[in-house]
């Protein structure tokens, strides 16, 4: 039963937690830093690639083609002219990312209705960016080439694609990263803070005193957990607010749903942290171990890279990652505006994991106390 002793202990735990300056730093500064850095530093788009052009065919068509290529910021024209050899050297040295060579017979071929070739040289070190740049160039060559078909009148293709980007029409990187960062920060901080909250009590020896309190171990643990849940909620809400205010990440769904899935996620990271505290003997071990756990949780969550692209065994492993479900849920709630009726296949595994981890960690904690 809950009684006044319990509340006294609860108040003590709250005070103890809030007196801890480092904890406040983790809760406040880390989500701020992470939200801003992820939102501002990571951008998957190809832009400002350094371009060199050698145009052997000085005609209106080729000049128009080049101005189309550099029109919308994907490429910055750095070098114009020079020899092919120096262009290749510049790619090898990393001075430019992309080279385009237009042959002297370009316009003549074009007018004779023959294939007019353009040489494209790409730095393939960054495979992803090279792919995007290549696709972008191909599209420009195609649309420009088909729009100025000189001999025959314009052909209307039999099929036209009408593509629409839903939920993030501008494909803004910050909208993608912000929900993921909420989940990642919660994981790192939650595991770290809860394990250290328990360990510091043990290291200072005050845990033994706690056992003298006329309360059951379950109640002692509960008094420890409740303040942690509250501060981790604050942590999640800080991340949410930064995304909402600074990056204008939409909140289309229901706040209650958001709080519910966050509560499950908090329970999971807390129990992992408690379990960690029971198996490590000092804070350094707990910290190193928390890296050990947080890293795969983050990497397999789909927060940074799409899950479809990772190799098969890792995709299967990601099904065991609670963060994966949490991030799908908050992306769904924030960007797509879906509710529990649609998200339940993601919530169910979270409930199972929360119960499972909670059972293990409380069991371990009790065993250690008794």
């Amino acid at each position: 039963m809950l009684h006044s002793n319990f509340f006294a202990l609860l108040i003590k735990e709250f005070q103890q937690l809030l007196r801890n300056r480092q904890l406040l730093y983790f809760l406040l500064v880390i989500p701020l830093l992470q939200q801003f850095l992820y939102g501002l530093a990571l951008d998957p788009e190809a832009k400002h690639l350094k371009l060199a052009v050698i145009n052997y065919c000085h005609t209106k068509i080729t000049r128009e083609l080049i101005s189309l290529i550099i029109e919308n910021g994907v490429f910055d024209l750095k070098v114009s002219g020079g020899s092919e050899k120096s262009l290749v050297n510049k790619i090898i040295n990393g001075d430019i990312d992309t080279g385009i060579i237009i042959n002297p017979d370009f316009e003549r071929n074009f007018k004779e209705n023959k294939i007019a070739q353009v040489q494209v040289l790409l730095d393939g070190v960054d495979a992803n960016t090279a792919n995007i740049a290549n696709g972008y160039l191909n599209q420009i060559f195609f649309s420009y080439g088909s729009s100025i078909n000189i001999n025959n009148s314009r052909i209307y293709p039999a099929i036209v694609n009408k593509a629409t980007f839903l939920y993030n029409p501008g494909l803004l990187a910050s909208w993608f990263f912000s929900p993921g960062v909420i989940g990642m920060v919660l994981t790192i901080i939650g595991i770290l803070v809860s394990s250290s909250a328990l360990l510091s009590e043990r290291e200072t020896g005050t845990l033994d005193q706690l056992l003298m309190v006329p309360l059951s171990t379950g109640e002692i643990l509960l008094a420890k957990i409740i303040p942690l849940i509250v501060v981790l909620f604050v942590n999640v809400l800080i991340g949410l607010t930064i995304g909402y205010v600074f990056f204008k990440v939409p909140f289309k769904g229901n706040l209650f749903d958001f709080l519910l899935v966050s509560f499950l996620a908090i329970l999971i990271v807390l129990s992992i942290g408690i379990a960690l505290a029971t198996i490590s003997t000092n804070q350094r071990q707990a910290m190193l171990m928390s890296f050990f756990i947080s890293l795969p949780l983050m990497q397999l969550s789909g927060a940074i890279a799409p899950l479809e692209s990772i190799p098969e065994p890792f995709q299967t492993l990601s099904l065991l990652d609670p963060l994966r479900y949490y991030i799908i849920c908050i992306k769904g709630i924030l960007l797509k505006g879906v509710g529990l009726d649609i998200l339940w296949p993601q919530i169910l595994p979270q409930i199972i994991m929360a119960v499972f981890f909670l059972a293990i960690s409380t069991h371990k904690f009790r065993k250690q106390l008794n």
């Binding site: 070190v125 495979a127 052909i155 293709p157 099929i159 910290m287 799409p306 890792f314």
Partner: protein, 370 residues
């Protein structure tokens, strides 16, 4: 002048002490390798196996052929959704795009009109969204050509040559970055823990009282953790070469020089933090964000460094990993263009020396205050 004997004695003592905590030793060597595997395998941006939901309301041979052509590429796989709400697979996260073929698809094509295909793309996955759109553009045109249907003709044909990574294998881009991230963070953490533990346990007072100079103490610690850090580095390199089949194409002498100073920047940064803060938790507060955020987000590890917006991009010049990632990519991909990459070695050496200098000076200052 610091006495070399004292430095070595201090380093030997440090290594003996380090080896006593067996769990930490194990973690110190297992964690970096584990982290490399997680980063190396689970950071993939290339689009493949993207689930697509098809809504074919025109059950004709033409439309069925078109659907077949979508899944003929390695990019797309059919979604497991089989209801008839076109938005639902996106909301349920079962597909990244819904493709709608209207009932008049084949009728329009056969009567020489243009048939529209609606593609609804989940824009909340920014990595894949644009690639899906581009792939559909390309595969539709290919389909029209194969079926000898009217299609836009572009006489401009790009001939692409891709340097260094012709297969555009993403691992060759990601893994060198992962090596740098991993081998910076872990040595830095271990080095800072070591110094802070002396403070926590009070043994630093014994050192103050002894005849050892501050510079000798610090240099000894840096030397010890440099040796440990470099062992970690070699282990991670071997694992990377073995697991991801990296091929050495660069100059090994220059690379080893770069690596020595890179590991030194990590170790001396950790030591510097150790001189400033007083407990392990606080250490983590500094080394964690600087290490993880700095070397992951501001180093060009995942996305091109020039995508980072001003003024945050200025910070990236301070991040040693930024230079070492380039060194690693030169070593494994580009081969050497010695003259143009001298800046890497210059920066790494000066950052390494500067950090050692700062660490030594910080402890000196502290000693005077006591």
């Amino acid at each position: 002048m610091p006495n070399l004997k004292c430095i070595i004695a201090q380093a030997v003592k440090e290594i003996i002490q380090f080896r006593r905590d067996t769990l930490s030793v194990k973690l110190a060597f297992i964690l970096p390798m584990f982290a490399l595997i997680m980063y190396g395998f689970a950071t993939r941006l290339e689009a493949k196996n993207i689930p697509i939901a098809i809504f074919n309301y025109d059950n004709s041979k033409l439309s069925r052929d078109f659907v077949d052509s979508i899944f003929a590429t390695a990019d797309f796989i059919p979604s497991s959704y089989n209801g008839d709400n076109v938005i639902m697979p996106l909301l349920k996260n079962l597909a990244k795009a819904s493709v709608v073929i209207l009932p008049d698809f084949s009728r329009k094509i056969l009567s020489n009109n243009t048939a529209n295909i609606e593609i609804l793309i989940d824009g909340s996955d920014i990595n894949n969204a644009r690639i899906i759109k581009n792939s559909f553009f390309a595969l539709t045109n290919l389909y029209l050509i194969q079926e000898k249907l009217p299609h836009s003709i572009s006489l401009i044909t790009p001939v692409s040559r891709i340097w260094f990574n012709p297969g555009r294998k993403e691992a060759l881009f990601i893994v060198p970055g992962a090596i740098a991230v991993v081998t910076w963070i872990f040595p830095a953490l271990l080095a800072s823990f070591a110094l802070v533990r002396e403070k926590e346990q009070g043994t630093i007072l014994l050192l103050y009282a002894s005849s050892i100079k501050a510079s000798e103490l610090i240099l000894g610690k840096i030397l010890a953790y440099f040796i440990i850090g470099y062992l970690e580095f070699l282990l991670v390199m071997l694992l990377a070469i073995f697991l991801f089949k990296l091929v050495i194409v660069g100059n090994i002498v220059i690379f080893l020089l770069n690596s020595v100073f890179f590991i030194l920047t990590g170790v001396s940064f950790g030591t510097l933090v150790g001189t400033r803060v007083n407990n392990q938790m606080a250490t983590l507060q500094v080394v964690g964000p600087v290490g993880f955020l700095g070397s992951m987000l501001l180093s060009g590890f995942i996305y091109p460094i020039h995508n980072i917006i001003y003024p945050i991009n200025l910070l990236s010049y301070l991040v040693p990993a930024r230079y070492f990632i380039e060194a690693l990519r030169n070593f494994f991909l580009r081969g050497d263009a010695l003259d143009s990459h001298l800046y890497i070695t210059t920066f790494l050496i000066s950052q390494g020396l500067l950090l050692i200098f700062l660490a030594v000076n910080n402890l000196k200052a502290m000693q005077l205050n006591k």
